[in-house]
Amino acid sequence: MSAFEIAIAAMITMFAVSAALLVGVVVLKWVNGKRRRARERRHAAYLKLLSKHIAAPGSIEGLTFRQAGDDAFIDALIDIRHTLTGLATDELTQVLDRTELIAYQSARLRSRFPLGRRLRAVVSLAEIGDARAAKVLMEHLDDRVPEVRVQSARGLARMRYTPAIDIILQRFDTESPWVQTRFAESLALFGRDAVWPLTAYIRVHHQQGDVGITEMIRVLGVIGDSEVGPTLAELLYTVENVEVKIALIETLGIVGGPMALRPLRRMSQSSDWRVRAKTAAAFGEIGDPSVIPVLNEGLSDPSWWTRRNSAAALADLPGGLDVLYSALDSPDEFTRDAAAEALADSGELIAARDRLEAGGSDPRDMRLVGYMHQPTEAVA
């Protein structure tokens, strides 16, 4: 075969592939459009049927096991599930029993391929949150696909299946930051049930300083149980890793209350500017005016962020606004700007302007409004 003949053969092949692709594109578009419209119709019909059943149980005769694999049905079921608050779950259980959906989707999740179908199965089980799926979801907390692990944890958290907490915690160290983040969200969904296992984990691992431990500490902040405040405050004295310190400070800002002030005051003297800046923000969260002198010092901190966070925190504290007004006369331009910004963000600027427009003549109002209208100067 000559080079020319080979080239001709290649060309013919090329055109055949092009023609096939061309037909493929148009047919695929047509088929997809048709399927999508049919699915939307089925979804609407299922929604109607399920709503009717919830309102007047007993109208699900038309449902069979065939629906267990129908995406439109599953989506409708999930939509209905999201609107229920536990009152009508018996009716939903009847639907699940009749269609054998849990068994069907569990079998799909246990199969090895394809990925799309397995993800559909695990998301369905997680969203529906039926306790019978707990076993299969527990089995998949160590699945090879990260998203399956994430959704399994989420499903278990939605059904408040507490035995999963320890398993999730055990797996935590070995996971990527992304999965850790999603696991952390699931742990927060467990609410107070997760507080003590998490605290125990943090106590044991707090010197490790990896991403996982900071994530765990922040989950405690999301759950918002103030009982963990003393434990976290105690850890703040011993922990060395800066990231862990920052996570502890942030969480203490949320759950620590006045008991956290003592360790936080110590942190405000830290040599690391990030720790000082976060501490200033935490003071603002706690809202105790006794820290005003500390924050006032923070306004002249060498770090840009500490000054800014101190000003923002002062705006949140009773009596803090007076300090900010005084800071408008600071010799440091950046401190003045940070104070002015905090006053503006707190609504003081608008209030001051309104008062002046109403005929007021408070020198503080005039100072703030006048200051804000000076041209901005860059601060090195």
């Binding site: 060309m11 592939v17 990527s176 969200e185 002015a340």
Partner: protein, 475 residues
């Protein structure tokens, strides 16, 4: 001897195009695999749940604006309702000579304020800063005119948050684009320094209240051709480059940048025609030379819609500007080409960019003269040449069709008629349009040194597109 050289050059040019299309085909197949996985994750991954996570870092949306009075207000409104928990919008008015600043002040009740402004990156003089006190924080930096790059740098200086989405004033953001993009940052916050997004032409689409309600392929030929070009670029090239961690370009219309990393390399280069590519390459070089682990990612699910030129005149100006930008970047980063020190970037994607983007118009243009000359002198086998051209054309069509096929997974264009229109473009783009773009890019080689860096798009504005769509419906 001369005829022999002519013969070899002729065959060389033809072979070049087969290699080029094969390279594109390699990227397309690699991209298809990446997109398939990304599609599953976006469909079932419940990424939206991340919105409630405390791990999601806040983002500043930076919008440089120069004479954007027509659409700026609607564009900002559409950005303000993006699904994201912590967000601020920083608009840099780059010395507009129209009513851009006034429109912003009136629409968002802005007031002139003094806020801490750190010039981490040197910029032209900042005249004033304005801020609103609505729940969505909007800051306007009013500065002297110095071009898009300088405006972006001023926006980065004024930004309060650690990540900056640099975009344009004439775009519509998909509601989920930020959360999908920032997923990669949450995934690996230490290493992720940039996330690029998927840009699609807005022309022909239907908008309501700054939201895209129906994606359509434009009726006009010029923007329709660009739909195909954008599909090829964003669907069949960037996912593959991203998988290699060697993206040579994060587009200026949608790029999430780690603020500290941008500052470390000195920000966007002022006065540059291709400031987005320049910054992308600077970031690569900085991290590779300092051996700092990093990741630059492209997220196909993070979609934004932008107006593309709808006349040949405006398109010509845009392409000349782009090619000049590319020329400058190629010159500035010539040391990276086939340099193993720069890994996959130096050995695969950057040489690909130089060979198949920078040199392509020169080689194609040369081919227009050399091939007829070779035929005239009888040194080229005409049947073989026809086969070569047909092969190059065939592979090109396959690439385009693959892009259209893969794009089907996104399902933006709902009617078969829309897809048919793009398919027709795939078949005819080599007959006229391609040659036109070659001429424009050749023209870019002889442009002189203009300093203007704002493209004159003659935008109809996002608001005008909405109004036009409403009128069309009511009639």
């Amino acid at each position: 001897m001369i005829l022999e050289i002519l013969e070899w050059v002729g065959y060389g040019i033809l072979a070049y195009f087969i290699v080029l299309q094969s390279y594109m085909f390699f990227l397309a197949t690699r991209s298809a695999a990446v997109l398939r996985r990304s599609h599953h994750l976006n469909r079932f991954g419940r990424v939206g749940e991340m919105l409630s996570s405390h791990r999601v870092p806040p983002v500043s949306i930076i919008i440089p604006a120069y004479n954007e009075e027509q659409g700026i207000v609607d564009a900002i409104r559409s950005m303000a309702i993006v699904n994201y928990p912590r967000l601020e919008i920083v608009i840099t008015n780059d010395g507009s000579t129209d009513q851009t600043l006034r429109r912003l002040i009136e629409a968002f009740d802005l007031e002139r304020v003094r806020i801490p402004y750190r010039p981490d990156i040197q910029t032209a003089h900042v005249r004033a800063i304005y801020r609103t006190h609505s729940p969505i924080k909007i800051t306007v930096v009013d500065k002297e005119n110095a071009g898009r790059a300088d405006a972006l740098n001023a926006g980065i200086n004024a930004a309060r948050y650690p990540y900056a989405l640099c975009t344009d004033a004439d775009v519509i953001l998909d509601a989920e684009c930020l959360v999908k993009g920032m997923r990669h940052v949450v995934e690996d916050r230490e290493r992720t320094i940039t996330v690029g997004g998927n840009i699609r032409p807005l022309n022909g689409c239907t908008l309501e209240l700054g939201h895209l309600v129906e994606a359509r392929v434009p009726k006009k030929m010029i923007p329709r051709m660009q739909v195909l070009e954008y599909l090829r670029t964003f669907i069949t090239s960037r996912p593959a480059w991203s998988a290699l961690n060697a993206l040579p370009l994060v587009s200026g219309a949608f790029g999430i940048w780690k603020r500290s990393a941008v500052i470390a390399v000195g920000g966007f280069t002022s006065g540059h025609f291709g400031e987005d590519m320049d910054l992308t390459m600077k970031m690569h070089r900085y991290h590779l030379e300092k051996e700092i682990p990093y990741r630059m990612v492209y997220e196909p699910g993070a979609v934004i819609w932008t107006e593309v030129p709808d006349t040949a005149r405006v398109l010509k100006r845009q392409r000349i500007r782009w090619h000049r930008g590319l020329m400058t970047v190629v010159k500035d980063f010539k040391g990276l080409t086939f340099n193993p020190r720069y890994g996959k970037l130096g050995m695969i994607t950057w040489p690909g960019m130089v060979l198949f983007e920078y040199f392509a118009p020169i080689i194609e243009f040369a081919g227009w003269f050399i091939i007829p000359l070779s035929i005239y002198f009888g040194v080229l086998n005409i049947p073989l040449m026809v086969v070569f051209i047909a092969l190059a054309y065939g592979v090109g069509v396959i690439n385009s069709l693959t892009a259209i096929l893969v794009d089907e997974s996104f399902g933006y264009y709902e009617t078969p008629a829309d897809v048919f229109r793009i398919v027709v473009m795939a078949l005819i783009e080599n007959f006229g349009f391609r040659q036109l773009t070659v001429v424009w890019r050749i023209r870019a080689l002889f442009g002189g040194k203009k300093t203007k860096t704002w493209g004159n798009m003659e935008r109809r504005g996002v608001a005008n597109l909405s109004a036009k769509a409403s009128q069309a419906r009511s009639s």
